[in-house]
């Protein structure tokens, strides 16, 4: 129960951040990815500022978390431990980037912007879920996450 409460609170903050920063608007994201607009002065570097703001907080926040013995509502911290750069990581990231550039949606903003009630967003999210299901049924692995719920 406590885990659900904290997750909802985290989601609310995250979703509000996506709206305040306008990253929930795909046009804003595409304006950042459009580096071809730099010479004409039409480039929008806002996304880099969003990442910078988020990174400063997470860098110090995660450092504080690591000093604790355990999370408030779970048995252990689930920090990823892998450091190798394999073909899956490379291919997946490149494919993701192509889809991101086609529409301007990555998973967080796509979900959050369902709040605006646009049918285009619903179509994208359903296709994104279908893509995840296809991954699961083809190249998917089941050994990714240890379960530490309680």
């Amino acid at each position: 129960m406590r885990q659900i409460f904290w997750a909802i609170l985290a989601g609310l903050l995250f979703g509000a951040g996506l709206a305040v920063s306008q990253m929930a608007n795909p046009a804003k994201v595409l304006a950042f990815l459009d580096v071809g607009a730099i010479p004409a002065g039409g480039w929008d570097p806002s996304l880099a500022f969003v990442m910078a703001g988020a990174l400063v907080v997470t860098f110090f926040g995660f450092a504080i978390a690591r000093r604790r013995e355990r999370p408030l509502a779970a048995d252990a911290f689930d920090f990823p431990s892998r450091r190798d750069i394999d073909a899956r990581l490379v291919a997946g990231s490149v494919l993701f980037g192509v889809g991101w550039g086609l529409v301007g949606y990555c998973p967080g903003p796509a979900i959050a912007s369902l709040a605006w009630g646009r049918v285009e967003t619903v179509v994208f999210v359903l296709a994104m879920i279908a893509g995840m299901v296809i991954w699961r049924r083809t190249l998917g692995t089941t050994t990714e996450t240890p379960v530490n719920a309680r």
Binding site: A7, V50, V98, A149
Partner: protein
């Protein structure tokens, strides 16, 4: 750079960071939206409940910001069905194959100084920019 909004971008980024830190300090979990969504739709234990809670919070938080007038009143999404479906499929498949997206790799992973996340972020930024370049300056002209 007429649409550049550095202040609201920084404030929004800080909110995203605080949300990610809350999920880590409370639940011990990385706020990676693709992983949370991907596992929420194929439940393998009791953890799907907090994942659905987080996703509902994402929508609710955006809705609250919009209603409070601190988010965009409207969003601009392409109306092209092939682009929406093709883009969605690629984002869903690619983020699961690559173990993360802009949140899990781009924010949480970089904050941990993870070499995997640094590589992933560089790659999806580059292929995203290349795709927009082709769409806007080559085909779209």
């Amino acid at each position: 750079m007429d649409n550049f909004t550095p202040l609201s971008a920084l404030i929004g980024g800080v909110l995203i960071g605080v949300g990610s830190v809350v999920l880590m300090i409370a639940n011990g979990r990385i706020a990676g939206v693709s992983g949370i969504l991907g596992r929420a739709i194929q439940p393998d234990g009791p953890e799907w409940r907090w994942r659905v809670g987080f996703l509902a919070g994402l929508i609710g938080g955006a809705a609250l910001a919009m209603l409070a007038g601190v988010g965009p009143a409207a969003i601009e999404v392409t109306g092209s069905l092939p682009l929406l479906i093709g883009g969605g499929l690629l984002v869903g498949f690619g983020t699961r194959l690559g173990s993360g997206c802009t949140s899990g790799h781009g924010v949480c992973g970089l904050a941990r100084l993870s070499p995997r996340s640094l590589a992933a972020t560089g790659l999806f930024m580059a292929s995203g920019a290349a795709t927009v370049f082709v769409m806007r300056h080559t085909i779209g002209g």
